[in-house]
Symmetry: C2
Subunit: 497 residues, 2 copies
Amino acid sequence: MYRDRIRLPSLLEKVMSAADAAALIQDGMTVGMSGFTRAGEAKAVPHALAERAKITPLKITLMTGASLGNDLDKQLTEAGVLSRRMPFQVDSTLRKAINAGEVMFIDQHLSETVEQLRNQQLTLPDIAVIEAVAITEQGHIVPTTSVGNSASFAIFAKQVIVEINLAHNPNLEGLHDIYIPTYRPTRTPIPLVKVDDRIGSTAIPIPPEKIVAIVITNQSDSPSTVLPPDVDTQAIADHLIDFFKQEVAAGRMTNKLGPLQAGIGTIANSVMCGLIDSPFEDLTMYSEVLQDSTFDLIDAGKLSFASGSSITLSSRRNADVFGNLERYKDKLVLRPQEISNHPEVVRRLGIIGINTALEFDLYGNVNSTHVCGTRMMNGIGGSGDFARNAHLAIFVTKSIAKGGAISSVVPMVSHVDHTEHDVDILVTEIGLADLRGLAPRERARVIIDNCVHPDYRQALDDYFTSACALGGHTPHILRDALRWHINLEETGRMLAV
Amino acid sequence: MYRDRIRLPSLLEKVMSAADAAALIQDGMTVGMSGFTRAGEAKAVPHALAERAKITPLKITLMTGASLGNDLDKQLTEAGVLSRRMPFQVDSTLRKAINAGEVMFIDQHLSETVEQLRNQQLTLPDIAVIEAVAITEQGHIVPTTSVGNSASFAIFAKQVIVEINLAHNPNLEGLHDIYIPTYRPTRTPIPLVKVDDRIGSTAIPIPPEKIVAIVITNQSDSPSTVLPPDVDTQAIADHLIDFFKQEVAAGRMTNKLGPLQAGIGTIANSVMCGLIDSPFEDLTMYSEVLQDSTFDLIDAGKLSFASGSSITLSSRRNADVFGNLERYKDKLVLRPQEISNHPEVVRRLGIIGINTALEFDLYGNVNSTHVCGTRMMNGIGGSGDFARNAHLAIFVTKSIAKGGAISSVVPMVSHVDHTEHDVDILVTEIGLADLRGLAPRERARVIIDNCVHPDYRQALDDYFTSACALGGHTPHILRDALRWHINLEETGRMLAV
């Protein structure tokens, strides 16, 4: 039943068990695996590797596109397999190991990993493990629900293991657009000038003799964990839609807006859902992950085309979308994350980037990653790729967390992922701060007046007033700048009740 | 004597005094002026404006390329003319006014100002004041020693004042390459694929009827204030050259290295001078400011071509270079700063970006701008444009300042301009830290061992050890993270002697 998925007959003899394939991975190796936002990861080989490591310990450096599903990062962590991990993760077990200093985690802009590999600034993968719907007559690999870094991993690795996953609709073939930048010093412009341009091939071109093992699987991607919109995320969406209307009225955008990018997760997904009932038409996405909202917007006739690097759906949407792929296929493309997130393309197309902040400060600096400046949540992901070069760099968050114990707006962020220079718009359920063209003191006024939860507004205003009395372009009181975070660590609340 | 500089005869009637031209600038206007790293600024009109404001107060928003020379920012500040200023400055009087909150300073990535104007996200200039060596037969403006944002300012402004500066060698004509990106949604790739590509015109194309005044001047640019190399800057250069040799030996670069970018100032200039005695050959620059070192390298036969947005020279080199321009002209091009600093081009060409840090921290976050997190020095300039997309993002600084009262390597930077994600290499006179592919705890070890002054090494190591005991991906002790800065503010020293 898998023979029609391996269209180069000479490769049929490479079919083997996951355990046999995993045996090709040796202690100390660097391994590049498919998988991006828990979509399209290789499933059987990493599982078999973890099982083997329980008996015979080994350590590897694991590179992926982004996060893995099916608890694979958990299994690999518990089996002690991961010595180094990059460039992104979302697993709670792995997160604990990272924060304990047991796994060295290299948190990277998602567009940059393969560029650093290409420049030999990172160790090249010894072996790549790539999930596929098929292998072509030429021996090229057709990815599944994500492209991520799979193409470059397969190109750079000395050996490639392919997992043919029969659970994926073979009609995914044709969805992908594999473009690899040329080498310097003769690198040419990326010829992508419209969201729906196709500039590459539909499969990953590698010499078929590099394929050393093929494993047949039949296992779904993990369902997305996004929560449905709530009153706060709806308020955030409403503020943003009002803002977009003003931008259109001011002649700065058309009713099509610009190509939209939305980060992974509940808030960004909810904001996108909010566009269903908006007056905007003929929308497009140029994003990294395509979530439920993408398909809801297509179904509503609002979204004309979506470019991404992966598709990650909830149980609600999964069977419907992948079971009716022909309904969507001419409106979709999946690209390598280097291209979906490329600074050149993001700047050229004029992306509207909507990403989630963990916290932001008075002056518009954003922390996307570190709780109290120390403990990693997931990673910066693509937020920096988009925010730096976007037409509009928008960050969204609820104004409070943990029942009000935490304010998402603080005097000084405890870690900076996006500097004030790269942040245009901040939105909480309270309101929206438009920071464009403002000096720091002006930014603070707009943020306090529009984004802060009422329980924290006076305290933040007091901090700002006292800081301004001390002077400075970006007024701070260094003794108190991280006080709210220190309180949180010591008392469980940023401010006394 | 200026008639041959105004080659469209109908414009001769626009010649007037600086005072008359300055009278066109009215209270509340937004004004775009030429000038980048104290090169090629309009000289007479801003001076006349400051003189007038002493009698009749007025306020404007002033945009430039970068810093102005000839004390113009000082004169305008003292006359109370500046309500808003962007995107960069280096004047001590203006700096005081910014830090006092009297002038709203918008500190921007230098590549982004005109992009934000083009998108109407900043107020378009009412009037542009551009220094020129000539006006062509078509009424187009030939810039002088900088291009900066002059081209777009002239294109966006309703009215243009031209200062023809007879002190500049008319042979500067032909040096400039004016390329303006097309508008979205049909923006096309920037067709620049080699450092020496010419992709635009040699003059700024505007309808001549927009030129409302022409002022004749005869005044030099201010000389550069760079200091000669000293033992510490030589040590920094030596560390960097050793590193480049290792990169070549490892096959990651050729003996040509990559196109070099060097920030303004003494340390970066000294590092470039260090290349004169290096084994590297056929070097190129793709930078924003071309300083003495550029011409020293050309004279030494080391540098084949230099692309920049301005030329800023010391008294030592000024007459020699501009008096013998034909010797250098085929090896130089000056571009709009949007193109010299463009993320698309920086990534494509694989720039080696060398910029100066004010301080950096254990984990490789860099502060380029704010003393003790509050007081602005100059601005981020182009450092972020280059660091984010460079092949190698290098930051250099001396390990201590103020006779040892300040360590440039601190537990946590008091302000972040460049995040750990964007910083590859850190260099002080003590040594070089290669951070590529390292997790935060590994970065800290390499930084402590290689970059910190011995007087601070034990204290920083103690902080790191204690922070690691608390845990976290990026270990910090929030109570102590800014302690060194607090000490500095309170006692004048980061650590007790």
